[in-house]
Subunit: 149 residues, 2 copies
DNA sequence: TCAATCTTAATGCAATTGCATTGAAAACAG
DNA sequence: CTGTTTTCAATGCAATTGCATTAAGATTGA
C-alpha cells in the first residue's frame, strides 16, 4: 500500500509558480527587444555563445545540446538554419564519422557580439535594475540547488 | 552622445543563466512525468487550474491570457483543442458580444485533479527535495522582485 | 448620431517543435 | 573476427507556435 504523496508546501508551490512566471516575463521582454532590433532569437544566441567559448570555436552537436538543453532534433535543424545564414559550419570530426564539429564563423562571432549589445542592455534593464548584486548571488545559489544532480 | 550600457555584472549574468537552466530542467522533468502518465502538457494544466479558481469556474480568454502569459492566438487555439476534448466550453459573455466566457467542465475539473497527483509528486521530487521551505520562501521573494512592474 | 478608434477573438499561412524512426558508424561481447 | 548493441545525427510527418491580418462589436468624440 502506498501513501498518497504529501502536497508540496505552499511556499514551494509559490516559488515554482514564480519561477515559471519570471522566466516567461523576462524571456518575453528580452526576445521582444532582440526582435525589435532585427536579431534572431535567444536560441541562436545561446548556440553562438557556446561555440565561441568552445575550443577554437568548435563543439560537437552533443556538447551544444548538453550546454543549452535543446532536443537533439531541434538542434539539428537549428544548425541547418544557422549554417544557411553562414553563422556556423559543419566540419568532419577526426576519427569518428558519425560525429561532426560545429564551428562558428567570423560572421557568427560578429552576430553574437552585436546581439550582446542589445541582450546585455536588456539584462540590465530587466534584471540588474530589480536585484542588487548580493540578491543576484543569493538567487544563483538557490537556483543552483534546484539544478543539481 | 550615449554611453554604451555597462556590462551586466557577473553575478547578474550567472543568476540569469541559472534561471533559464533551472526552468528548462524542471519543466522538462515535469513534462516528461506528465506525458509518461498519459496526460497533456503543463499548458493545459495551467488553463484548467486558472479556470477552476475563477468565479464559477469561468474566465474570459483575456483573463486566462494574463494569468498564464500565453499569446492571444495560442490561447485561442489551445482553447479549441480543450473544447474538442470536452474540458472547457465557450459561453456567451452577457452584455458584450465580442467577449466570451470559458467555463471548465466537470471533465476538465477531473482532469486537473488527476494531473495534480502526478504534478504535485513531481514538484516534491524536483523542488521540495532540493530546497527547504525557508529557501523556497527566499527564492519566491527574489523572483517577485524580478517580476514586479 | 455616426465616423473613427479600440478591443476581443479567430484564422490563413509560414516557421518551429515534437515524435518516431532511420541510416550510418562505432563499441562491445562472445 | 562477426553479430549485436549503442551512439550520433538527420528526417518525414504531425502538432504547435508565430506573424499578420481580419471581422465583429464596443467605445469615443466631434
Amino acid at each position: 500500500m502506498q501513501e498518497p504523496p504529501p502536497e508540496p508546501s505552499a511556499s514551494v508551490i509559490r516559488a515554482w509558480g514564480r519561477l515559471i512566471r519570471a522566466e516567461r516575463i523576462v524571456v518575453g521582454r528580452i526576445e521582444a527587444e532582440l526582435k525589435n532590433a532585427g536579431f534572431p532569437s535567444l536560441h541562436w544566441y545561446d548556440v553562438l555563445l557556446e561555440l565561441k567559448r568552445g575550443p577554437e570555436g568548435r563543439l560537437t552537436p552533443r556538447e551544444i545540446e548538453e550546454a543549452v538543453l535543446f532536443e537533439q532534433y531541434n538542434l539539428s535543424r537549428l544548425l541547418d538554419r544557422m549554417e544557411n545564414e553562414g553563422l556556423v559550419r559543419r566540419i568532419p570530426f577526426p576519427g569518428d564519422k558519425r560525429r561532426q564539429l560545429i564551428e562558428i564563423t567570423e560572421e557568427g562571432k560578429a552576430l553574437q557580439w552585436r546581439m550582446w549589445s542589445v541582450y546585455g542592455a536588456a539584462i540590465n534593464r530587466f534584471i540588474s535594475a530589480k536585484l542588487t548584486d548580493k540578491e543576484a548571488g543569493q538567487l544563483s545559489a538557490l537556483l543552483l540547488k534546484l539544478i543539481q544532480e
